[in-house]
Amino acid sequence: MIKASKSEKQTGCAHLNPMPEAAAYRRSPAVVMRLARMGSFHQTRLSFMRSLLRRLKKEQWQFKRPVWEIDHDGYGRAVYTVIGPQRSYSLVAFSHHLDDQMRSDRVIATAWDATFALFDGVPTTADLDRLQDNVPKQEVGRISDSELSLSRANRSVRLWKHVIDNLAAGQQPDRQQLESVGYLVRTTAVYGSGKFGAADRLTISDRAELSGPFQAEMLSVWLTRAFSIDLVEHIAKSIGGTKAVVIDPDLRRRIGVGNSTGLGMAPFLINHPTLLNNWMVAREEAFARVRSLAAASESEVKDFKQHLEKARVKVSEWHSEHPIQIGKLHQLGSDLEKIVSYVETKSLSGNHPWDVFYRWAEQELSMEGQEQLLSLMLEPYGELVDGLTQCMDADEHRSFFIDGSMSIGKILEIIENQYDWAIAVDYQQKENRARFWYTSAEKLEPRVGERFDETGAEYEQPLCIGFFIRQLYEALLESDRDLPIADFLLTNSQHRHTVRRVQTLLSHPYSEVRDNLIAADMLPIDLLRCKLSFFGASKFDPRSDRWVRICMYQDAPFPHELLATAK
């Protein structure tokens, strides 16, 4: 086992690559930053849920549930608190009655089975009362800078009733039914960073435990999972009395938290290019480090095989009704069998075994299979790659600056070398600009429209990067190459946004999705899957080309299992 060097631990990301030999194994942005590949990503050791739980465990955080004011029917409020070495955070949960006809997975819903806020510290009764007046209203309420996130969830009606009925009758729920759904509640939105009055991102950006991407949101979802179990057990006890039982720990682990995610997530990746770059660089560097290893030990191979077996089980439980995903799952199942066969028949004791393995995969497996293999390859190498999670946040301010002294010729050169995928497209063809991204006045939600069939293209958001690049390119070709770009921008300020992206790409090579985001055949779910895989989600189940259901934290430990109970 090669260990991460001391210098890396001490200097964080100043030395992202303490293994210079790994650089040769990094995949290029032209390979990685394609929608079809990003839409095949799987969770890894670097995913945000996993890095959160590793930290909580390592730092010996404690857990308690100081408030449980839930009535016989399961309605009321509760507080879940985790206590760290320096600070505490609390999930404040409200459980409500909701008529079935009000239950919608769409962001335009106005009522939910449960609503939540992640409180910075431990709330007083006055805080709880204030939150009770606002959190259930979600977007139309107002929270404060004491809160770090705002979210809501609906029950999985079928499983909810099944689990309660069984527990109340003194028996365990049916394992197969429980595993086929995988969760008791589905969150439909988790808002963070300054939204609806919540604390600004800067509030937490210098706290080690929350400075990584989406750590507050991931903590909130993890505690929401615990709440969902406590709630069904509470209701079952109300109904069944002494006859009622709790869920077996083994079965309980199989329950995660569902999530329905729509287009709201997609623009984030495009609007945060340096963050996207840093996520990608960390991930690609991790793969490259493992591929650069000269040898694999027996225990590392054994570890890999165990995770491979778990992946096979997961895929067998992974169902989708969407034609695209059905095809991909079929392919993934077959790829996993090929991987098993490779491990059984070929040796992983040779020279650079992981690189040889991956090169084989490039030839033999679909993108789903290739990405699955890479995720699995990281599993035995926590010490080698886990430190990279410290490199996954971003100083977005520094890349925001435009260097006006750069010559027009240099900008043209970057475009020709790095945006070939954009300037080669003929945007006069309808299919190449068939879509437009916009924000709906209804709940301020991002959506995609059909440019030639729908109204509203005048509200287009700047996600048509390829199209913008082509326009900039054509304008620059008419200009003097030796002039500074500042001169061009003085009279062409409409191109500032695009020039900024081009310059960002120079220092952040993985910052741009290298596909046409307004093409007729573009699949928004590819962007969603990429982001959700970084979160650590599994069981991606597209419900349309722009909407996906997932499962979070399935098989992960619960707070009372991972952490000591606080007094």
């Binding site: 079935d100 239950r103 919608s104 997975d105 769409r106 962001v107 335009i108 800078d145 609906n154 999985s156 009606v157 079928r158 960073s193 300054g194 939204k195 009055g197 919540a198 604390a199 600004d200 800067l202 509030t203 329905s260 287009l263 301010h397 520094r398 925001f400 600056f401 435009i402 260097d403 006006g404 002294s405 916009y438 924000t439 709906s440 006045a441 209804e442 301020l444 939600e445 959506r447 995609v448 429209g449 729908e454 109204t455 509203g456 509200y459 500074p484 500042a486 921008l489 003085l490 009279t491 300020s493 409409q494 191109h495 500032r496 946004h497 695009t498 020039v499 900024r500 349309s544 909407w547």
Partner: protein, 217 residues
């Protein structure tokens, strides 16, 4: 009446409001950051930005763009726009590191110009000082300091402005905040402008929101 808003909200709403009044995406982003930067030091970034955007709304931006960027910068029309001009100055801010002193005017809302240049100061990790009439604002990586007559700080227009790098130690900064009180009427007006960037909901757009499947499963 005032209402508390986070810096994230300020940046996001001002960006949209600026875009709604006709600034391109790039300038609108910079306007959002400038308003956020001022608000972070409890200066009325939102209120001044609103006044400026309302003044520009529907006008020909060409009139407010610098006609010359040598010697003394001035507009094609009566006043330089502090956002367009500030961006052009930021693009050339490297020149201030080698001693260039920029002179320009007349300019509207010079505090916005100072905030735009402040973003460049943060990038270069230096101090850029913008001064006019009786006031001078120094911006650096994590701070703003103001000297002179505070009555002139928020003036709607000024004849002449000077921008240069200041060497030496950083002056004492104004205290910073992550959420600030904004005049409710000003926020409503910004919100109203921002709302113009949202597409009205239609049957087609609703059809694309969510899978449209039941959630009772």
């Amino acid at each position: 009446m005032k209402q508390k808003h986070t810096l994230s909200e300020i940046e996001s709403y001002v960006r949209k409001a600026a875009q709604a009044t006709g600034l391109g995406w790039g300038l609108a982003e910079e306007a959002g950051k400038a308003a956020r930067w001022l608000a972070a030091f409890d200066l009325p970034g939102v209120e001044i930005m609103l006044a400026h955007l309302q003044q520009l709304n529907g006008k020909d931006y060409g009139e407010y763009t610098p006609a010359r960027v040598d010697d003394v910068w001035h507009a094609q029309g009566a006043y330089l726009c502090p956002l367009i001009t500030g961006a052009a100055l930021a693009d050339r801010s490297g020149q201030m590191l080698t001693g260039t002193e920029f002179r320009l005017g007349p300019v509207s809302y010079p505090i916005l110009l100072a905030a735009m240049i402040g973003q460049a100061a943060r990038y270069h990790r230096t101090i850029f000082t913008t001064s006019w009439a009786g006031v001078s604002i120094s911006c650096y990586e994590n701070g703003i300091s103001i000297e002179g007559n505070s009555d002139d700080l928020l003036v709607a227009e000024v004849e002449s402005v000077k921008c240069l790098q200041t060497k030496g130690t950083r002056p004492q900064s104004l205290p910073s905040t992550l959420a600030c009180d904004i005049d409710s009427d000003a926020w409503l007006a910004i919100d109203k402008l921002a709302f113009k960037t949202y597409a009205p909901a239609t049957a087609e757009s609703r059809a694309g929101a969510g899978a449209g499947l039941t959630d009772n499963d």
